[in-house]
Amino acid sequence: MVMGAFTLSDERTAAGRLPGLWQGFAATLARDCRLRFRRRSELANPLIFFALVVTLFPLGLAPDSTLLASIAPGLLWVSALLAVLLSLDGLFRDDFDDGTLEQLLLAPQPAGVLVLAKIVAHWLTTGLPLALISPLLAIMLSLPGHSMGVLMITLLLGSATLSLIGAIGAALTVGLRRGGVLLSLLILPLYTPVLIFGAGTVRLAIEGAVLTPWLALMGAMLALSLLAAPWAAGAALKLSLDG
């Protein structure tokens, strides 16, 4: 903790000025991405989970393609949401355990910006791949072809919102020994609007309705959580470190 403060002040004297906001953001983002890509197997886990859950539904229901097509939007969205939820516990856990988080919050940049970098890294390695492989699973559920693009767009927008909201829950529970179940209890009710709009937009796309208002609403939710969530998560991380 103390050493971190010294390192930073040394850097300042060497460079003559503080590392800027953008530099701090970029450095944190690069570091988090590098760490995540080093653990390839962990990287694939949410994707495998996503595929597995999607596989479970036809087994539990019936292999009837019209039935599956009618419920495919909700089913894919629920599965993707659960996959994101599963990955949330790891968002801050390792950094919390090895003390990196404490260093991060001592940095001269505002906590919200650095937390946002971590969230972006999380989305790049969770939400983005989920959205990219979703058409594959959608084909297996016989989702009509013309709605694939909409499914991907809603998942791209929605999973970013999920990462942002989820970061608050992850930050609140990171200091707790058994935070996993509690995390889902806190976060799932807050996820419902994203699920409703995400799956609803895909359903409307199947019917061929005008989608721009609904995509705009999803964008609005993303913008709102982009504004509020990093700061809330930063405050939550501070209290988790205090406790």
Binding site: T173, P189, L190, P193, G200, L224, A236, D242
Partner: protein, 249 residues
């Protein structure tokens, strides 16, 4: 300004002042609820469509209103606690949470009982019902989070942050559920759209709502007072209170 805030935030001052108000709150709240119940159950005319099953309104609507007001009150307390670090605000928010959860559950339960004679089913995925259910989950999450922390200050701050996140999210949840609902079945079920009620019907409802508010205030104050004793049992004035027997009630 500041001396007033600090005085208001002082547990001892709050304890003494609220002690004077509490009997009045209990009494008037109970009186209004008893009067409203008797009036609503026995004297209000039956609804021309729903018959006597509409009398559930006299507990259902106050419970639903209180469930939402309680959340709003907790949000205000959370802001006060997070910004000014006034512990009393946290104690009040913590004291109100279980009551709010109970009111949410009560509203859902009485709504389900009302649903059978009115809609022919215990539960519909109506916008109001669904958003109330989600609010119940948020209440439970806040309570669970507070309890999960080993340090009290940590739990208090975590609960305050989650309360604020919840209060931003609740309108979004509500709106999204309305949208989702209209997408599915059209706004068929609407409890509130009634032909204008005669005074003999809405006056008892008004009494009930006021009574519920008074009792909410009384319960929250009483539970906050208990929390004060629980947190500082060694304070001299608390010791004096305990020695003096029932004087503090």
């Amino acid at each position: 300004m500041w001396p007033i805030i600090h005085k208001l935030g002082s547990p001892k001052w709050f304890y003494t002042m609220s002690g004077r108000w509490l009997p009045f709150l209990w009494g008037s709240g109970a009186l209004l609820i008893i009067a409203g119940s008797v009036w609503g159950l026995a004297f209000a005319p039956p609804d021309y469509q729903q018959g006597d099953s509409f009398r559930i309104i006299y507990v259902h609507v106050p419970a639903a209103i209180l469930a939402q007001s309680c959340f709003a009150m907790m949000a205000v307390c959370s802001v006060i606690f997070l910004v000014w670090r006034i512990k009393l605000a946290d104690m009040a928010a913590g004291a109100a949470a279980p009551f709010g959860a109970a009111m949410t559950f009560s509203a859902l339960f009485s709504g389900a009982l009302w649903g059978v004679p009115t809609w022919g089913t215990w539960w519909v995925w109506d916008a109001r019902l669904t958003s109330m259910l989600l609010m119940l989950f948020i209440y439970l999450g806040i309570m669970a989070l507070r309890g999960a922390f080993a340090s009290r200050d940590g739990g208090a701050r975590a609960a305050a942050i989650l309360t604020l996140v919840g209060v931003i999210n609740l309108p979004i949840i509500k709106y999204s559920v309305v949208w989702w609902n209209t997408l599915h079945q059209g706004a068929t079920f609407s409890i509130t759209e009634k032909p204008a009620m005669p005074a003999s019907m809405w006056l008892p409802l008004l009494l009930m709502v006021l009574g519920f508010y008074l009792l909410f205030a009384a319960v929250t104050i009483a539970r906050t007072r208990n929390e004060i004793i629980r947190r500082q049992p060694s304070a001299r004035w608390v010791r004096a209170l305990a020695q003096g027997g029932r004087n503090g009630l």
